[in-house]
Amino acid sequence: MRRSSILAPVIVVLALMISSCALTPPGSTGPGPGAFTISPSTANVRAGGTQQFTPSLTTATFTWSVNGVMGGTAATGTIDATGNYTAPSTLPSPNTVTIEATETTKKSATGSSAVTLWNPIPQISSVSPPQVTVGAFTLTISGTNFVSGATVAFGGGTLTVTSVSSTQIIATGTATAAQAGFSVPLQVTNPNPGSSSSNSISAQVIGAAAVSATAAARFLDQTSFGPTATTISHVEQIGLQAALTEQFNQPTTQFSEPPSPDTAVCGFTNWRCTQSEFLNVAVWGNDQFRQRVAMALSEIFVAPIEQDNAMPFYLNTLAGDAFTNYRTIMQDAALSPAMGDYLNMVNSGKPPTGQIANENFGRENMQLFTLGVNLLNSDGSLQTDGSGNPIPTYTELQVEAFARAYTGWTFANPDGSSPSSFNYTHNWLHFMVPVENQHDTTSKILLNGTTLSAGQSAEQDLKGALDNIFAHPNVGPFVCRQLIQHLVSGDPSPAYVARVAAVFANNGSGVRGDMKSVLTAIIMDPEARAGDAQTGDQADMSPAVDGGHLREPLLWTMNLLRGLNAAQTPATSYLYVNFMSGTLTSVGEAPIDQSSVFNYFPPSYVIPQTTLNAPEFSLENTGSVIPRMSLADKIIHNEDSAPVIDLSATSVIGQQASNPAQLVDYLGMLFMHSQMPSDMRTALIDTITAIPATDLQGRAEVAVFLVVTSSQYKIMH
């Protein structure tokens, strides 16, 4: 010990000289004959861990010792003939040791290293019980490498540790009401020296319901692809705001690239594989709200390309952008290769004499994605001129100017770089890139007299054009009203639109177009929440808001599969190509299959002979009602290539069929926000009761069919 402590600084000095004095002639000031170093010269090694030491001489053989004891001891750690040190499982005191190597043939030639021993990294394997109730609780944490003095973090706080062994910690604490419904992460931290934390494992906190089952289910109908028994219970526990936050933080489920070229799995185009994957994402994805918003966005920024692998990138872009800013969405949609191809912005060149620039994207970007054709008030209602007529938002000349501003974009090279001229080879995996010599560099007069000056690049003109549109006061009311229509109600009150549009204009922090704020405003608005507190008969006969909307066929189908707990399969097995691409066309809506940029249905649709604005009713008529019923029949009886539904006597739903009222109330909870009107409930119980109790599956199937095909269910309100 004494010797090594004296020599150690000398060795460090020598080592530094060797490493830093390459220009010094060898031998002049270097180490003396027989001196060598050990690498590393200092080390931190965890209890039970190992560290390899290597001498600077490679030509000699060595003996190794720990604190002067050849080969070391159990208390200080052991070292083998190759210099591999194994630290003791519990720390000695003091927690430092010296590793020394001695050249076998020259006993006087030694080198050493100073080792500091650290506590091990704890590892949790389980926690018992896995669920705790709000209030005081005691938890037993099992695992390895726990050391005395370890602390346990629980959510944002710390538990009181009452005992620690190397494999078990017992701790007590208090779960707050705010934690109810959440999986709260637990983590063990060992103390210094070398403090470190374990993996994280969760305990579920159960508390009093934060909101009613009705509120939870209504919220889930608005923010997911349909409530399930599990998600209703979860939202009941954590409340709506926390559920929104949770969804905002969910990472994006990615659509994968189907195998290319087109395969037998997909059929004639890979687009069909993406349609199949849509089912997986919608029914089993964790990012339910994100994907629901992405579906709404895909029905605003309509760009279905039914070939190759065009859709995964586009859908991933919309979902990834769903909680960002509307300006971001505008630009990403504009430059997506799918949109470029669909509305012809890709390879739209500066027009030669005798031709004009392609107006397709320039027009529809304003008409459908951002502004609408007529000037709006901030509550979404039409502005009118002195004669009471609507006022057009833009002129044909402005359409032509935007068309020129968007010239000069092409498909990227396979590596994402820019080609030097227009590239007609599809590249669906990268945003479009500019080709400046195809950009129309003349000046353009846009909205409100804003001019893009001559000589700007394609990118400058694109950003300038989108900024010009984004700043227009129509964007907030135009877009917010459509988002409300997709998520909550087809005919929102002007005041509701105005409240949300105000948040679009300024999220409270001076940001325009902030999607999280806009979506929160839509979902938490009193008009969206008014039905939460009503009984079934109140909601049916005297609704707090006479609103809601028809479940569009695609959403309705996903609602059924989620509610009926369809059996999950891997997304990339593409099992639902025929179902999603073929069967759903019988009800008028397969995913990413709009027949034009005007979506499956127009936002302005008014039910004939009424004043009810109800976009989805554009698909609802005497020719479409029956096919939807037939589809329900097929799904319920597993007669199509949809995911498997279990309504057998032993299934969750089938088991309840022995008690018709219980079955009906369970379906009412699952599908109708626990708000099934009493006349419907009575009729349904009577029908089910008439089916023999020996046929529980038959009861379940008939009951589910009648609920999900009823207008009372199809109208989400």
Partner: protein
Amino acid sequence: MSHSRRSFLTNASLLAAGNLLGFRPFGMLNALAQTSSDYKALVCIFMFGGNDANNMLIPFDTTGYNNYATIRGPIALAQNTLLPLTPAPNFALHPSLPEVQSLFNSGNLAFLANVGTLLQPTTRAQYQANSIVPPSNLFSHPDQQLEWQNQLDSSAGSTGWAGRIADKMNTQYNPGALVPMIASISGDTLFCNGTGTSPVSVGSGGPGTPSCSDQSYCSSRQTTAQQFANMSSGVSLIQEDNAITNNAFTYNTVLAGALNAATPLTTVFPTTTPFGAQLAEVAKLINVRAALGVKRQIFFVGAGNFDTHAAQLATQATLLAEVSPALLAFYQALQEMNLANQVTAFTCSDFARTFQPNSADGTDHAWGSHHIILGGAVKGGQIYGTFPTLALGGPDDVASNGRWIPSTSSAQYAATLAQWFGLATTDLPYVLPYIGNFSSNNLGFLG
């Protein structure tokens, strides 16, 4: 809020027909209806997206063709590929229209040139000086589709001109009918909706009852479903959806029964395209007119994807090749039913497209267009209306890109069809509120 969608159901026999087990025996209805030979039908064929009629009906004389080819440049069709029109030698057709060519040459098909939405006669000078009220939101697909269908001053009007014809004619011509006067084979369209009448929608797969795998429970299941559909609700949308559901039960039962009992037509349709399948369905429904108890019917079918902003030549060639043989098959089916003189089909579209091409070998949204009228009652082999001057910045151009100001109003087009169908002249203003602004309400292509 009105619930007159339900009004059709006030007839007790129809409520009975809504019961799966209670529909009437069709033999009796056949006997009632077949006594009348007074039958007429109109078939509206909507070419969604804006058909580029500038490449459908083309000047064929040397001067005319050369002017066309010079301006259209890369999307000009070669003169030697065009299909000549014998009775109108200065014009020729797109090469994908041989069946249309033969129907024109045999006198059973006519064209109406440069027709479009207009509220009053309009000149270039008037348009540019803003001294007339133009149709609202020109050049916008949905607005122009809806204004073709509603013949009102904006797309906001909630009834269509066929629906308003039914308002005026249904009671007189179709008393006791089991289905509405109007049937759409192309979904819900404004064209079909009246103030007091509603259409029946039929998928091109035909009508039917819900499939049921609940075996012995199917009957009670259906009874309960109908019970649900008759429960009243304070939620307006539930009321509306219930009304549609009730009508669906009624109409599908009636239609499926009538079609199942009918002798199939032998005419073969090109049913591999949705458009051919739709016209085939129209022919089937006309074939059971007696069982349905109707003497006047209006049908709506649609063909899509005419929005050729790029690759105009290839796209339009494919689309017209779907339309043309289906039109011939339809005409042959009418001949098979001895109804060629009693059924008239006609095309509509959002608008025509710029005569000047864009830099993507496509064309953009324009206005006045050329349309097809087909049927034995058509005074065929003629081009009606006034063909536009094909000059950029010329007398018919809105500005300088070849967006033709219509020389004939779609209201005049509709008025001619409606009067042939039997609409009283005195009812024209109800159906076509702006018809009085035009000098003629009959273009003479039917007689």
